[in-house]
């Protein structure tokens, strides 16, 4: 049966199990949108800016583990995806970004709304395609989803000239792909795994350092079993916040620049560091020469290029984290480390995460808001964040109990990520309460997506920790620039309650500590999307803090 290229594209997406596409129409994707008009199986979510489409697809992918799909027109539509694609690339999120391109004969002639999106996105995609022949489209789509979702996942761009979506062709989904050397490591080297088991067994002060790869691989159960069986405390990166139960007594919370004192002390003092699906990012290691210097480092990752990239491990293991941990567990006998755990317990008691309480006269403490969200959702909500102080407090003061419930732009640090990501996450997990913990700066970077939330009645709760500052930058200016608050005062912000109302959301304001719980209760009990504008202490800082380039056991604050 003959059909148009656009119809073939949608057929391919259906074959890949796509349920939802986040997109925005335009000239070169008109045929695709025309075909979508008749599609019964594909739900299209109209965002209000293409960046929102990419972040929403990303949030959907992080919340569900499925590949997120976004769609944009050529030129500015495509370039608006770029920040979202780069965000997904840095955090290894499976995404397929489809862009319309000007008709084939006009490519290269500086045509209206032409941009070389293939070239622009080369360094920020796992792979990319410019489709030149309709006959190859099905194979390209199949490969795109395969590449995006397997191995170390990442975004794949497919650029399709408009004429290919208009001409007729036949739909035949290929059985085979043309990826001769795309290999997927699965099990790790058995000898190395044994070596790792022996290093762990002989250690007196082991620590697990878990990264986002644990969530990607779905390896939380194996990681938890290893921690419990061998009594090994677990610290997680920002990307891995939800992979180990934050309420578990072995949990050390986050490590690194804004990690807990006890996590950073434990890593600095451990004799065996088990890095799982993590990449020794500078925000984690601080000054890299001083990181975990007493430890034998075991590094497990699916991407061999990560082994030895930043830190040279003693036992490098390439492989799927879930498989490798499973194999490792076969060699592990139960262990006890009473002295080590007692030492960690002492640190935990002496240096807990803490902040000065609000007091009856004071303003709301942002940490208090996050704690209340945690308590009122029993650690079961999906939390997305923007970037900056809000993000760090959301990582520090909410205890995550299930994988894929903390969604944040870790690597790229993209402000404006949280709201569209929350919309995507909520559409993927309709059973969950989804909060976007936001700052008054970040939220304005993609606030147009409030219209999307209202249009589809996506019941996300946007909790703005409103300090009328670009908080994290202000904090650095306070500490490193002698309080010279250059361009960080955001006093002339909109009235967020009125903004909510203008978009058709419910807007709630809380200005005093005793208003926090009622405001959250009202938000949670409101069926649709809500903004809660928390007026928080303006110059509150995120502590502890490792000054950039410093050793992670030399922290400011939180003593």
């Amino acid at each position: 049966m003959k059909m148009t290229g656009a119809q073939i594209l949608l057929k391919c997406l259906e074959r890949e199990g796509v349920e939802v596409i986040f997109g925005y129409p335009g000239g070169t994707v008109l045929p695709i949108y025309d075909a979508l008009f008749d599609s019964k199986n594909l739900k299209h979510i109209l965002v209000r800016h293409e960046q929102g489409a990419a972040h929403a697809a990303d949030g959907y992918a992080r919340a569900t583990g499925r590949t997120g799909v976004c769609l944009a027109t050529s030129g500015p539509g495509a370039t608006n995806l770029v920040t979202g694609i780069a965000t997904a690339h840095m955090d290894s999120i499976p995404m397929v970004a489809i862009t319309g391109q000007v008709v084939s004969p006009l490519i290269g002639r500086d045509s209206f709304q032409e941009a070389d999106i293939f070239g622009i996105t080369l360094p920020i995609t796992k792979h990319s395609y410019l489709v030149k022949d309709l006959a190859e489209l099905p194979r390209v789509i199949k490969e795109a989803f395969h590449i995006a979702s397997t191995g170390r996942p990442g975004p794949v761009l497919v650029d399709i000239p408009k004429d290919l979506t208009m001409i007729q062709g036949t739909f035949k989904y290929p059985e085979k792909m043309s990826l001769p050397r795309y290999k997927l490591p699965s099990s790790g080297d058995a000898r190395r795994i044994k070596e790792a088991a022996s290093v762990i067994s002989q250690s007196k002060r082991p620590v697990i350092y878990a990264g986002g790869g644990v969530i990607t691989a779905g390896a939380s159960a194996e990681l938890t079993e290893l921690a419990h069986r061998c009594q090994i405390p677990v610290t997680t990166t920002l990307m891995a916040m939800s992979c180990f139960n934050g309420e578990d007594s072995l949990s050390l919370g986050m490590l690194g620049m804004h990690g807990t004192r006890y996590a950073n002390y434990a890593v600095s003092d451990c004799d065996c560091l088990i890095a799982v699906g993590a990449r020794f990012d500078d925000r984690v290691t601080g000054k890299v020469d001083t990181f975990a210097t007493k430890a034998n480092i075991i590094h497990i990752d699916i991407d061999p290029a990560e082994l030895g990239k930043n830190v040279q491990p003693h036992v490098p293991i390439t492989g799927d984290v879930k498989v490798v941990l499973g194999e490792l567990l076969q060699h592990m006998e139960p262990q006890e480390h009473p002295e080590w755990l007692a030492q960690i317990g002492e640190w935990k008691e002496k240096y807990p995460l803490r902040y000065e309480s609000c007091g009856s006269e004071g303003r709301i403490k942002p940490q208090f808001v996050v704690e209340q969200i945690y308590q009122m959702t029993s650690g079961k909500a999906v939390i997305t964040t923007e970037v900056g102080q809000n993000q760090m407090w959301a990582a520090q003061y909410y205890r995550y109990t299930e994988p894929r419930t903390f969604i944040s732009s870790g690597g790229l640090g993209t402000m404006g990520f949280g709201l569209p990501a929350a919309i995507g996450a909520q559409l993927g997990r309709p059973d969950k309460i989804v909060f976007d913990i936001a700052g008054d700066g970040s939220i304005l970077m993609n606030s147009q997506e409030l219209a999307t939330a209202v249009h589809y009645q996506v019941p996300v709760k946007v909790a703005i920790l409103n300090n009328q500052f670009l908080g994290m930058v202000r904090q650095w200016q306070e500490i490193f620039n002698d309080r010279r608050y250059s361009s960080t005062d955001l006093t002339s912000a909109p009235d967020f309650v009125k903004l909510a109302e203008a978009y058709g959301l419910v807007g709630i304001r809380a200005t005093r500590p005793e208003e926090v719980r009622p405001a959250l209760e009202k938000a949670i009990n409101t069926p649709g999307p809500v903004i809660i504008d928390f007026w928080v202490e303006r110059e509150e800082n995120v502590f502890p803090m490792v000054p950039p380039g410093g050793a992670i056991n030399a922290m400011l604050g939180g003593e």
């Binding site: 080369l122 410019l130 001769p180 061999p304 990239k309």
Partner: protein
């Protein structure tokens, strides 16, 4: 230390950009890069000379492996191999100098491929040190223009296996 990487890639659009972009993005130094089709027109071979210690070369190799279009990478630096560069060099050559230039060309087993009124074009192939030596020998006559390919290399003996 310089390493010679022999890289087989799928002959897809953008593959050269992907490889070159990876080097620039990650801050690796390409000394030279030569690319051309192999006996199979769907596959091209890149000969890349890159500077760096073993750790850098290991990262380069691992990162290259992640490119979907890269089929095979061999670091042939320490393998028995033949490598060649090609140079075309245009030198000042008035009647008085021609004899001496032709002697130099002879010694290096190079060839004169064009004769102008006041200049000669010389074609030379060889490994890098030979090419450098010819260039140095001709420099006193006055080099008008010079073009060199990057190094291409092939491993001796049987077809190279990983």
């Amino acid at each position: 230390m310089k390493h010679t990487l022999s890289v087989l890639v799928e002959n897809h659009p953008g593959v050269l950009t992907r490889v070159a972009g990876l080097f620039s993005r990650r801050g690796y130094n390409i000394e030279s890069l030569a690319v051309g089709e192999t006996e199979n027109p769907a596959i091209s071979r890149m000969t890349i000379v890159v500077g760096g210690d073993d750790r850098v070369i290991e990262q380069v190799t691992k990162q290259l492996h992640k490119l979907i279009d890269v089929l095979k990478i061999n670091d042939i630096t320490n393998d028995e191999h033949v490598d060649r560069e090609l140079m075309l060099i245009k030198v000042n050559a008035d009647a008085a100098a021609r004899g001496e230039i032709m002697q130099i060309v002879d010694i290096f087993r190079a060839r004169i491929v064009d004769i102008g009124r006041k200049s000669l074009i010389i074609e030379a192939t060889g490994d890098q040190s030979k090419i450098n030596a010819i260039e140095a020998s001709l420099r006193p006559f006055g080099i008008l223009e010079l073009v060199r390919t990057g190094k291409i290399a092939i491993v001796r003996g049987q077809k190279h296996k990983e």
